[in-house]
């Protein structure tokens, strides 16, 4: 523990996309990200309750005093926390967009790579806590479905599914989410990684359907910094992905309008997610991964304790 604290800063650097980009294998990348994430976290706020005692741990500020072992206190006059083996009844399905638009990236990681790293890290984190993790990738249709498992080696299957050599455009998001819902027999956590460049109504309907089936939904909205800031200079020919037309323009002149359109889009998505009770998280691909993983852990805790979704 002491070593981990000592090396915490070193581990946290693996949350940085620039650093993660240097790591070739996705599994390793996910592993490093989670290690870094955990090393930087406050100790043990996420250990669950279980009937099976694991160990005592000295009380630190922030621990729930309900978990204090008063017997030990009476004997030693010191505060200790009782820790138990967590339950593994959480079923989490990671829905990752691998369409053509996700291939854009101005930084070290494209949106696709960022989404894959985030999904793999989340899977690794969940598997480590004995939760069942499944995976669905899609573009114009569902590309692969990995059913939820809690075995640790299940990660390999998840990572293998995240590859997509020939990305295609997104067409029917509602149909895709509908299929995802149909493939999940019991309620659980659905985490969607996408840039959401789809039809807004279809997206709303899809989220609505997931929520109607009692799934907790976390929506990770990934966007590249170029797409957010639009800091292009000089004459530029924008060639549209996913069958969009191309446009030759002075981006500086269009920037104001672009940002306004983007802002309206984000507001609309956010309103739709809030309306449907979906946890919404906007992610810039140049930001560290801990935002994703933190949101995951919070959401998992909320699900385990029967609390409503965290606000976006």
């Amino acid at each position: 523990m002491a070593d981990r604290e000592k090396d915490g800063k070193n581990y946290r650097r693996f949350l940085d996309p620039a650093v993660l980009a240097g790591i070739g294998r996705l599994e390793l990348r996910a592993h490093q990200a989670v290690e870094g994430f955990l090393a930087g976290m406050h100790p043990s706020p996420f250990f669950g309750h279980s009937v099976e005692f694991v160990q005592h741990r000295e009380y630190t500020t922030g621990d729930d005093i309900r978990h204090l072992d008063w017997k030990v206190w009476s004997k030693t006059d010191r505060f200790y926390i009782k820790q138990f083996e967590a339950e593994t009844n959480l079923r989490c399905t990671l829905v990752v967009d691998v369409s053509e638009s996700m291939a854009y990236g101005s930084g070290p990681l494209s949106k696709m790579q960022y989404a894959a790293t985030a999904a793999a890290s989340a899977a690794w984190l969940l598997l480590r806590q004995q939760d069942a993790v499944g995976m669905v990738t899609f573009d114009s249709s569902i590309r692969s479905i990995i059913p939820p498992r809690s075995q640790s080696r299940h990660l390999d299957a998840i990572v293998a599914a995240l590859g997509n050599d020939r990305p295609r455009e997104k067409t029917d998001i509602f149909g895709i989410l509908k299929k995802v819902a149909q493939n999940l027999p019991t309620r659980g956590l659905v985490a969607i990684f996408s840039d959401l460049l789809v039809d807004r109504d279809a997206l709303t309907k899809g989220l609505q359907m997931l929520r109607q089936r009692k799934h907790e939904v976390v929506l990770f909205h990934l966007m590249d910094k170029d797409e957010v800031d639009f800091q292009f200079m000089g004459p530029t020919r924008f060639e549209g992905m996913e069958s969009m037309p191309e446009l030759l323009c002075d981006p500086a002149a269009l920037r104001e309008g672009y940002l306004r359109e983007l802002g309206e889009f984000l507001q609309e998505v956010r309103r739709a997610a809030t309306k449907q009770g979906v946890s919404y998280q906007f992610i810039r691909t140049d930001e560290p991964l801990d935002a994703v993983l933190t949101r995951f852990l919070h959401q998992r805790e909320a699900v385990r304790q029967g609390r409503p979704n965290l606000p976006g």
């Binding site: 053509e100 446009l247 002075d250 104001e256 956010r270 906007f282």
Partner: protein, 939 residues
């Protein structure tokens, strides 16, 4: 802006300007081709933004483009100041050559209080030249200036390319340049400058401008010769810079400037006798348009003489007033202003024996007297130099007189004529020397004030030449005729020596009177001599005796012929009575002529201007008319003379003004004088005229009563006259003396020329000798330059002494700068004690006093011709202070006239730059609140 238009009149310049202005568009199009490609996911927002921003974007881009195009144009304008080298492209030059002629004549000293303290025309002209050079300094075209004074047109005083260093030299030169005190021939100066300018830089493309800085006086321009000079040079552009003060306005007003001047200063005699009063006069002119008053101060030998000085109460505009004053001549001695030493006449007289030495003694016995008139007025304006006038009076104790008697017998000292003549001379005034004609040529003639020839037959050629020179250079010569007079010789002198004998004589003298005729003459009550001009000084002394001239015995004379060939200046001083009245037909015709003149019912007596005096005229004419019917020849003459002296009375008339001075009656007056002359005047008896600077007089009868051959009685050839020895012998000395003084009078016309300072070559090359020859030493004398010339500060600058063609020593002065008195002394050799001292007065030419200004038409040589565009401003008469900066440097100003000169262009450029930068910033600025789009979610 005209210059700018001129630039774009060139199609190539227009194409270049278009290309330049389109640069931003071209850059924009090139940039459009050099785009980068981006595969973009969020195209839907981009397309929506493009749809939303399209109109605004287009407007902003167009504004940006327009501002950039304007920027290019404005920068182009700014650069054009340096790139377009000052002249319109239609007239590109390699050189500009300014040929500047500075009028440095005396009239340029005219000053005006309106022009500011210390400002005169010459200072204005120098300022103008300085301004011209200053404005040329900024020219991109190499500019050269050549400067010359009009007084020395052949001498280029400044010839350099204008730059900071040469400008300094020019200013220094201008500061040290002074006016000339004499008249300058502007035509010659401009002609020389023009020809010189045309020959300059024949191989280069040169703009040649001839600038003339002058006061542009009417007197200089009215004869049109300067315009001819200007007209004959196509390759030269002229600029006339008007430097007259006060500065004229746009209507060329005022057209003259007031100036008072002494036009002439003289005396009744060129020779003054010490202690004897001498009448002098000064002619003062008012060249202005307003009546003025002034004080005429007289200085004698440097000391002011209050009794001679006069207050001139009224000087009417445009008129000349003669002011008379009387002086007492005195030898200046050491009191002469320029330090003349006193003269010891006796020293010279004692040591000389022969004629030349006697001559030297006579010369040395004279002293120059300096007379200066100063016109003082309180205006302080005008030409100062013409307010002072000098003259030199030769002062002697007695007048040296050479009397040549043609009848003198060998061995005798006098003859009949010279005896009577000598007796008529006042020994206090005259110092006569009697000679035979043969001795005349040996004499130092200029040492005498006068030469009198009594009954001389013929003279040797040498003597004639000497006489000719003597008279023409200022001497006085009197002829008294007699039986020895040879009419052929006299007529030859008239014809071949410019009237050395003033009239042509008939072949024979009048015949000897018979006893009967003599008796008739005695009984005749009419005067035997008449006075044609009662105002003539010669007859002034005789007039009191006019009534007794009927007793004069005047029997023989030499009749004159062909009076039409006489010189216009020949005056008949005395005449014999006319015989026309004795002839009935002629008498009646003369009476009719008088009555015609007196026709009061005809013009001019009917004119309104005559009305005020018509009453008195009617009365007096009536009296005269009645006398015509009843009186004899000379009663009628006197009646007519009395009528002509009729005084005008009433308010506003001057004292002494006669009725006949009215302009309308001048013609009547002349007719009356003519008829008086016809009634009374027969053959002339005494005639005089000026020759050169001297005078000659001829008395056409004898000085003595009889001829030479018969001694004092001379009955065989008859009595000529008995003026010297008869009933009227008391008047003979008056006649002789007044006649001799008349010969000594100053010849005012020739005198004014004599003192004119001609332009060519300064004072050294006068058209005629300027000094008084009677003060010069003859040819044989040795003049030692530098030793014998002394005493005068002015004279120390004299550099040249030369011998003139008439074999008289003359003096040339090269460096005389100012008018005034020049004194000198000459000795025959370095050991001689005797010295001849003299003085010369140099006065300004009165031509320089008239400050009337030329009009635009008088200056512009294109008057009456079609004017070309290019020369439209060449001859425009404008004041120098405006002209030099605006018009005279037109080509430099043309460059300056383009828009790049204005500071507003810079302001506009800066404003446009700010707008362009704002638009560019607005079109490319990365703004917006990026915090709205972070992982923390959208606000």
């Amino acid at each position: 802006m005209a210059g700018l238009l001129g630039i774009f009149l060139n199609p190539w310049a227009l194409a270049a300007a278009g290309l330049l202005a389109s640069v931003p568009v071209i850059i924009h199009l090139i940039n459009r081709m050099r785009y980068r490609r981006v595969r973009w996911a969020a195209m839907e927002f981009l397309l929506a933004a493009q749809k939303r921003m399209k109109r605004k974007m287009i407007i902003e881009q167009l504004l940006l483009l327009a501002s950039r195009v304007l920027l290019v144009i404005l920068i182009g304008l700014l650069l054009s100041r340096w790139l377009i080298s000052g002249s319109p492209p239609a007239l590109p030059e390699d050189w500009i050559l300014h040929e500047v002629v500075l009028d440095d004549s005396t009239s340029m000293s005219d000053s005006s209080r309106d022009a500011g303290a210390g400002s005169d025309s010459f200072a204005l002209a120098k300022d103008g030249i300085r301004s011209l050079a200053e404005s040329s300094l900024v020219s991109k075209i190499p500019t050269r200036m050549r400067l010359r004074r009009a007084s020395e047109p052949g001498k280029i005083l400044f010839d350099e390319q204008l730059g900071d260093e040469s400008f300094g030299a020019l200013v220094e030169f201008l500061n040290s340049t002074n006016l000339r005190s004499y008249r300058v021939n502007l035509i010659d100066a401009l002609e020389v400058a023009k020809n010189d300018l045309i020959g300059q830089f024949p191989d280069l493309k040169t703009r040649k401008l001839l600038h003339f800085f002058s006061d542009v006086r009417k007197a200089d321009w009215s004869d049109g010769k300067i315009k001819e000079t200007m007209n004959s040079a196509e390759a030269v552009q002229w600029r006339i810079h008007d430097c007259a003060v006060p500065i004229r306005d746009e209507q060329l007003r005022p057209d003259q400037h007031g100036n008072l001047a002494i036009l002439a200063l003289g005396s009744e005699s060129r020779l003054g006798l010490e202690g004897q009063p001498l009448e002098c006069w000064a002619k003062v002119a008012n060249f202005g348009a307003q009546p003025r008053s002034a004080f005429l101060a007289i200085e004698l030998n440097g000391k002011r003489d209050p009794s001679a000085s006069r207050q001139i109460e009224s000087l009417p505009p445009g008129q000349i007033v003669e002011v008379r004053f009387r002086i007492i001549p005195s030898r200046g001695g050491s009191t002469v202003k320029d330090g003349l030493p006193s003269n010891d006449a006796k020293t010279g007289q004692a040591e000389n024996k022969d004629a030349l030495k006697d001559g030297l003694a006579r010369r040395a016995s004279s002293s120059p007297m300096a007379i200066r008139a100063i016109l003082e007025n309180d205006s302080g304006e005008g030409v100062p130099a013409d307010n002072i006038r000098d003259m030199v009076l030769e002062v002697r104790d007695r007048i040296p007189l050479l009397i040549v008697d043609g009848t003198i017998q060998p061995g005798a000292s006098t003859s009949s004529d010279s005896l009577y003549f000598g007796a008529a001379l006042n020994p206090q005034l005259f110092e006569p020397i009697f000679l035979e004609p043969a001795d005349l040529e040996k004499q130092d003639m200029p040492s005498f004030a006068l030469v009198v020839l009594l009954n001389v037959a013929e003279l040797t050629d040498t003597a004639v030449v000497k006489l000719d020179n003597y008279v023409k250079s200022g001497g006085g010569l009197a002829w008294f005729a007699g039986d020895r007079t040879v009419s052929g010789f006299c007529n030859r002198l008239f014809e071949q020596h410019d009237g050395l004998f003033p009239v042509l004589l008939a072949g024979q003298a009048s015949p000897i009177l018979s006893e009967k005729e003599r008796e008739e003459m005695k009984r005749d009550e009419s005067p035997k001599v008449v006075f044609p001009d009662l105002n003539n000084p010669v007859v002034a002394g005789l007039l009191p005796f006019r009534q007794v001239f009927k007793h004069l015995r005047m029997e023989r004379h030499w009749p004159s012929i062909e009076s039409s060939r006489w010189n216009d200046q020949t005056e008949t001083l005395l005449a014999l009575p006319s015989k026309a009245w004795q002839i009935a037909g002629q008498r009646e015709a003369l009476k009719r002529e008088i009555l015609d003149i007196f026709a009061l019912d005809k013009s001019p007596f009917t004119l309104p201007a005559i009305a005020p005096v018509l009453g008195i005229l009617e009365l007096e004419i009536g009296k005269t008319r009645s006398k015509i019917a009843t009186s004899g020849q000379f009663e009628i003459v006197r009646a007519l003379e009395d009528l002509l002296r009729l005084q005008q009375t009433g308010e506003g008339t001057r004292i002494g003004q006669t009725v006949w001075d009215l302009p309308e009656l001048i013609q009547v007056q002349d007719k009356l004088k003519s008829v008086i002359r016809k009634i009374q005047q027969g053959d002339p008896l005494m005639v005089a005229r000026p020759i050169g600077r001297g005078n000659v007089l001829a008395f056409l009868s004898s000085a003595g009563p009889a001829s030479s051959r018969s001694g004092l009685t001379g009955d065989s050839i008859g009595i000529w006259n008995e003026w010297a020895n008869g009933f009227l012998s008391a008047t003979f000395p008056i006649l002789v003396q007044d006649s001799l003084f008349y010969l000594l009078r100053q010849n005012s016309d020739s005198r004014s020329k004599e003192f004119s300072l001609s332009q060519s070559g300064g004072l050294g090359n006068f058209p005629s000798p300027v000094v008084m020859e009677s003060l010069y030493y003859p040819q044989q004398a040795t003049v030692i330059a530098g030793k014998s010339i002394e005493n005068s500060k002015v004279f120390q600058v004299a550099t040249k002494i030369f011998q003139n063609p008439e074999a008289l020593w003359s003096i040339g002065i090269d460096s005389q700068q100012n008018p005034g008195l020049l004194t000198y002394s000459i000795r025959p050799d370095s050991t001689s004690v005797t010295q001849v001292r003299g003085a010369v007065a140099f006065n300004v030419d009165t031509f320089e006093s008239d400050l009337k200004r030329a009009s635009q038409e008088e200056v512009d040589p294109r008057t009456g011709k079609s004017k070309t565009e290019t020369s439209a401003d060449w001859f425009k008469l404008e004041p120098v202070n405006n002209q030099t900066r605006q018009n005279s440097e037109m080509l430099i100003q043309k460059r300056s006239l383009d828009a790049s000169e204005t500071p507003w262009l810079i302001v506009a450029l800066l404003a446009l730059l700010i707008v362009e930068q704002f638009l560019a910033w607005r079109c490319s600025h990365i703004g917006g609140n990026l915090a709205n789009f972070t992982s923390k979610g959208v606000a």
